[in-house]
Point group: C2
DNA sequence: TGGAGATCGTGAAACGTTTCATTCACGAGT
DNA sequence: ACTCGTGAATGAAACGTTTCACGATCTCCA
């Protein structure tokens, strides 16, 4: 096996306590002994065994992050934000991908708890799962990402989706559009429903009737392919909509492709607004107008809340942070 | 602190050894004691401390995976492949994102070694780094992903980039193109250079002169934006090229956008071939012909090699696995 | 000269598991 | 009645750190 601190001590002719001090409190050790210990360490190729260190310390300096889908740019950016803050504060991040499966989520929660992470950041497959509550009850702080806990049992960070829908709607209305088609994912998802609510609100506030202005296409999956075929079907007949608002950018790309293949000018004959402002949005054949979420900030805020709770478990008060999204205008609405 | 195995033992009225047996060797324990131990466990909310377990066991059942960029669909798919195999074989995967920075890579290598992972899968920032060699020398098996070790000190899994360039070239030539522009990243990257080599080979094999057929645009970054402006510059003047071969799909998307904005028909006036076949390739405004790499298989193969080496450190012989890429034809070359 | 600090180092305990040799209880076989 | 075997539970050792109370040595000044 790999050499232990004991081997190092022996070789350097000091006690194990001294070696440990060189590693953790160098200022307590004289320069000469420090040097001989260090040479022994590199001669033996010693690497500290973190299991032992953590066992003794009783606590780790790491936090867990469980997201639904790392391939999704949204979560990817969130993760970056989390890592940045964790880095600053000296925490390590254990990255987990639940793939939207409760079973995987539970497995990771188990692993993280066994590792005695200080806290967990999570976008749960469903809010109110027992496994997560149990974790919290046992004293591990938890922060919800892109979700809210109706009972405010813990902190959470999310984005105002109603506001996002409103932004999109107001923008399209200001350009004179009177018929807007909303390409949505399942309306059972809070995000999709909220965005529709916001869109309706914008229409109402413009003094128009949502029932007349808005048409909804609810699709099973929120990807380019399903949006493409849905849009193709609409535009094959003669849809009266002059604008499309899509529940995410992938769907917007699908709609764009359908428009191109039907020979419909964008934005001349069809304006398109996406959601998320993923990297590809700006690089699409016609750069997409989109609703940008402050993803990195979400991650940063979540990590800060978590660390705050870890450091002051008693005085801590749970917060529900809500970020405002932002409209990014590109050529798909204003050629 | 959280309850230990000792607390459980006390509450269930048995010894700690018995509790441990319930956890790890249930068959050695009678049904009645097993039951009382289990009720004690759930009553106390006991969760095993993996640091202690691992310390005692001396070995973990986890492997590390360090990639250059998790946002890149290529690495994302590789990770999926790795996870799938690890899952089957009962290993846990520790996912790390080096972000192409040597410093981050080294930090993660350190952490993984401290955690005593059984092995490491890595796409190193640069091959032949000292930190990695040291790890290997100390007995931790290592497999290179999408890279080769010229000295064959370890296993590696990569894709034949020369072959990929050749596929693209042959395809374009068979469509009658005589002027091909290669939009490349830095030619100092083996991947970019290899793909050019392959392209040249295809031209030569068609009995043509690579010098006359191929023009190279070497860009700093391999993203849509740089490719867009590079392409814009070319097509603004009158480039004689009728086809573009791009070092990755992001660049291809940039070229496509430039073509659209210059009013150049794709594929009629410009055929485009990308590389990687990322998910968006099929969903682009004009679906992209691309070179697909068997990414999941790369991950699977790498994980299998690693586990093989972990399990049979003595009899193991290093292998350099090379996968063949595949041409996926879409509308950007054959309208 | 001696005593008070300051500076370094020591050694043993403790962290929570797993393992393994040992003990215990009990029924079967002679 | 005695041993033998079997199945179940025990208890102590060990894993590699960190911590902390305690010595040892040295310096400085009364």
């Amino acid at each position: 096996m790999s050499p232990s601190i004991k081997d190092v001590a022996e070789r350097a002719g000091v006690s194990v306590g001294t070696v440990s001090n060189v590693l953790n409190h160098p200022e307590r050790v004289s320069d000469s002994t420090k040097e001989s210990v260090l040479t022994a360490i590199s001669a033996l190729g010693f690497v500290r065994n973190s299991s032992a260190a953590q066992l003794r310390a009783g606590t780790s300096r790491s936090i867990g992050l469980i997201v639904l889908d790392l391939a999704n740019p949204f979560f990817h950016d969130v993760a970056r934000g989390v890592e940045a803050v964790a880095d600053e504060l000296g925490y390590a991040v254990v990255l987990c991908n639940s793939d939207d499966q409760t079973e995987r989520e539970n497995r990771y929660l188990q692993v993280l708890e066994e590792q005695r992470v200080r806290g967990v950041l999570i976008t749960p497959v469903e809010v109110g799962s027992g496994r997560l509550d149990a974790l919290r009850k046992r004293g591990t702080p938890t922060v919800l990402v892109d979700r809210h806990d109706p009972r405010v049992n813990c902190c959470s960070v999310a984005v105002d989706d109603v506001g996002g829908g409103e932004l999109a709607g107001a923008h399209l209305l200001s350009l004179g559009h009177q018929r807007i088609r909303y390409f949505s994912g399942p309306l059972s998802l809070r995000q999709c429903a909220d965005r529709l609510t916001g869109l309706r609100k914008a229409v109402t506030e413009a003094g128009l009737d949502p029932e007349r202005v808005i048409e909804v296409s609810e699709e099973r999956a929120m990807n380019a392919r399903t949006a493409y075929s849905a849009a193709k079907k609409r535009f094959g007949g003669r849809d009266k909509a002059t604008a499309a608002f899509c529940a995410n950018d992938l769907m917007a790309l699908g709609v764009l492709r359908a428009a191109v293949s039907e020979g419909r000018q964008v934005p001349g004959e069809l304006a398109i607004v996406g959601y998320d402002d993923i990297e590809f949005a700006a690089d699409a054949a016609v750069p997409l107008t989109s609703i940008r979420q402050p993803t990195q900030h979400i991650g940063r805020a979540a990590a800060q809340l978590l660390v705050e709770e870890c450091d002051n478990p008693d005085t801590h008060a749970h917060q529900q942070v809500m970020f405002k999204p932002e409209l990014v205008i590109r050529e798909s609405t204003t050629g």
